[in-house]
Symmetry: C2
Subunit: 440 residues, 2 copies
């Protein structure tokens, strides 16, 4: 098959992304065939329920319920795993790689959990695994990192990797609306899943950060070992406070490596970004990634991070790479598969080495001496206060207190947070946000 001029494609999963890939591939197939010098044939599609009505229609003859049969079909050269999930998706991926096929995937949860196993299996059996669609949707960031910027080491990569959260935060800020209302609306519009937890709690962005960190630093970081915080405790008041201080609020994934100590930190959390920062002005479902390389300086990539069309664009670009590869025999090794940088001695940075300034919002009893008690806890942990915003008291005798700090570190802030929470005058769980100052 690998020497033939016809390359057969199998899809596992025919939801939003699968239908988008089919739809756009039908349209662009002729042009792509002329440019790549091969014929592309959509051979088989595995679905859970063949009778389900779908916006994009398929000939019944193409359908099967057996994803493993698609993965193992010897006529199929490219298997697109677009099912999601990490169980059957993992089996299908590994089976196809063991057959030496090319697997194209948009599944960041799968890669984050099983990336090491997937790439080892591909290497062992001469299979190939392409995953441009797994991070930042239509933005070709995987290709940029491993090919376009191959001359670089990456001291800092950060950005907006979850369009759902960015949509919610943008709406909250623009409409001065509470989180719950905006989330409900986002669900109605299809911008948020029925179960929003993976998005709003930061795990989806953490999976993507794990993929980028591996590409840039050759090491898989389990999201369990990252600082991962979501957006569900942010209020409209936080946007007002941030604006007063000259910041917007974005959910950022941040991957920082200190090449002197070889310490790496990967984290996902809502971040106050200076209003002038380009990424602070990327709104709605858009994603944005800032990549600082030691040779090229900072480059920035912005585009739709999710949705049928943007994701299909990325999947099809992987299919094109896969087709170019198969045209020449599957044992080829393309630049697009350049091995990641060897991890070498890279280790996770301890919490005290993750430094930055902080925003701390507290609900306190509106009575004398409260600020003094909080300030003394902070002083005990060597956290220095930079500014204080005290908002008018509520009718229930509480007040909102917002403190920002001078540079401190995660260890000091986490113990500060614990001790401040225990004060009798602090009546609600404090909210800690990071302030992101990035050199451009």
């Amino acid at each position: 098959m690998s020497k033939s001029n016809v390359i057969k494609i199998g899809l596992c999963g025919f939801g939003t992304v699968g239908q988008g890939v089919w739809k756009h591939l039908q349209r662009t197939k002729g042009e792509m065939e002329a440019r790549l010098g091969v014929r592309l044939e959509l051979a088989r599609v595995a679905v859970r329920d063949p009778r389900r009505k779908r916006a994009v229609r398929l000939p019944a003859s193409k359908l099967t319920t057996d994803a493993m049969a698609v993965a193992c079909d010897p006529a199929i050269g490219i298997v697109c795993e677009l099912m999601g999930g990490t169980d059957l998706a993992r089996q299908v991926t590994l089976a196809a790689l063991r057959e030496g096929k090319v697997v194209v995937s948009a599944n960041k949860a799968l890669i984050s959990a099983h990336g090491a196993e997937i790439f080892a299996t591909a290497r062992k059996h001469g299979g190939h695994f392409f995953f441009e669609a797994s991070v930042a949707g239509g933005i070709p960031i995987i290709k940029a990192l491993r090919e376009g910027l191959v001359a670089n080491r990456f001291p800092c990569i950060y950005g907006i990797l979850n369009g759902t959260c960015n949509y919610i935060l943008t709406q909250m800020e623009e409409l001065d609306a509470p989180y719950d209302c905006v989330l409900a609306e986002a669900k109605q519009l299809g911008y948020a899943e029925a179960d929003e937890a993976l998005d709003v709690q930061g795990w989806d962005a953490a999976h993507k950060a794990a993929v980028l960190a591996w590409l840039a630093h050759g090491r898989w970081v389990d999201p369990k070992h990252m600082i991962v915080e979501g957006i569900d405790r942010i209020t409209p008041a936080d946007f007002k406070n941030a604006a007063t201080l000259g910041y917007g609020i974005k959910l950022l994934a941040i991957i920082v490596r200190d090449f002197a100590t070889d310490e790496l930190s990967v984290r996902v959390h809502p971040t106050l970004l200076p209003e002038g920062n380009v990424i602070a002005n990327v709104n709605g479902v858009y994603n944005a990634i800032s990549v600082t390389g030691d040779v090229v300086g900072t480059t920035l990539y912005i585009g739709r991070g999710a949705g049928q069309d943007a994701t299909a664009s990325a999947v099809i670009s992987d299919i094109a790479d896969a087709a170019a590869l198969l045209r020449h025999g599957k044992n080829l090794h393309l630049t697009s598969e350049v091995a990641p940088l060897p991890a070498g001695g890279v280790k996770l940075a301890p919490l005290e080495r993750i430094r930055g300034c902080y925003y701390l919002r507290l609900t306190v009893r509106d009575q004398p001496g409260v600020l003094a008690r909080i300030a003394s806890v902070m002083a005990r942990h060597h956290v220095s206060i930079a500014s204080v915003i005290q908002n008018a008291s509520e009718t229930d005798g509480t007040a909102s207190l917002v403190l920002t700090t001078h540079e401190s570190n995660e260890r000091a802030m986490q113990t500060t947070l614990r001790d401040v929470s225990r004060l009798a005058s602090v009546v609600d769980r404090p909210l800690l946000l990071r302030i992101g100052e990035f050199s451009e």
Copy 2:
């Protein structure tokens, strides 16, 4: 050689870019070799004057004055043409391609003038031509267009492609300084060449636009057939007027294709961009490119557009692609060489089909009836006035008049401009700027 594990690299030209490539390749070579599975060897460097002092030192044994000898050396697999110019550079490029080598180039002037010949020669002789560094410096925009976004057609590509002009415009706006002063300072800082004409008159950006237009639409457009206007007639007053109207001013390259009529327009000119547009806020030597694809929507790329390090980063990424290719035998055809979209029936849009709104600045005699005469010329060409800013008269009895128009077209505006210039009450050559309204 192609089957061997050692790939020899020859550099033609050892100026700013060549020295950057050498310097960074020396440092990253070990890592790249481990990742690509080949050994890279810097074999020979052709320079005009071997005795010239250079910041980056070379062993004398590597030096030659004979660029053609490097191009034709059978031991060398990758020839980096980093001389600039279009005569010897063309000879060297064609000679190396005829030997089936990979040529890596940063030379947009060469590609714009001789691209068709270069790519035909590469095809005929099994050579390869890589040119990531030719457009937008360190931003991997070539790779994004031809590989990452391969599923797309491109109705609109626009952006800042000349860092020198963007630096000058940024300084003029921020310091309220006239063009000549800022240019002189830019030369001192090395941000502008001793002969600045190619940059400030828009030709460098036009060369780059020609490369992007070919990649996106499969057709070479000669800059002579583009609208190309420079920045040298812009004054600090234009920035103030633009700000009053809610715009910034950027030198943009704009490539628009109407897929219904198959009309293509490629142009370079100073453009008023709405203040909220991300590209309006890209300052200094940075480049920025907005790419709208029919599948992916709009993606945006920002980074350093020139300079030793950013350009070296792009050249080295081409060397990595070239090494991956040569590792497998030079007759391979990578995705990174996907043929451009067939031009098919694409034709250049006539001037009347290039539509938009305009900003017209006139110096007029400060006397009654002047505006009426200008307005009547405009009405004759069906150009409708949207707003008028009349600035306080000068001591010499002249006044500055700024008109913006509703949507019109290039043909109507160019005849308007000619007729307005002939009015006795218009005392200086008018300045016409385009207003850029791009959907995001």
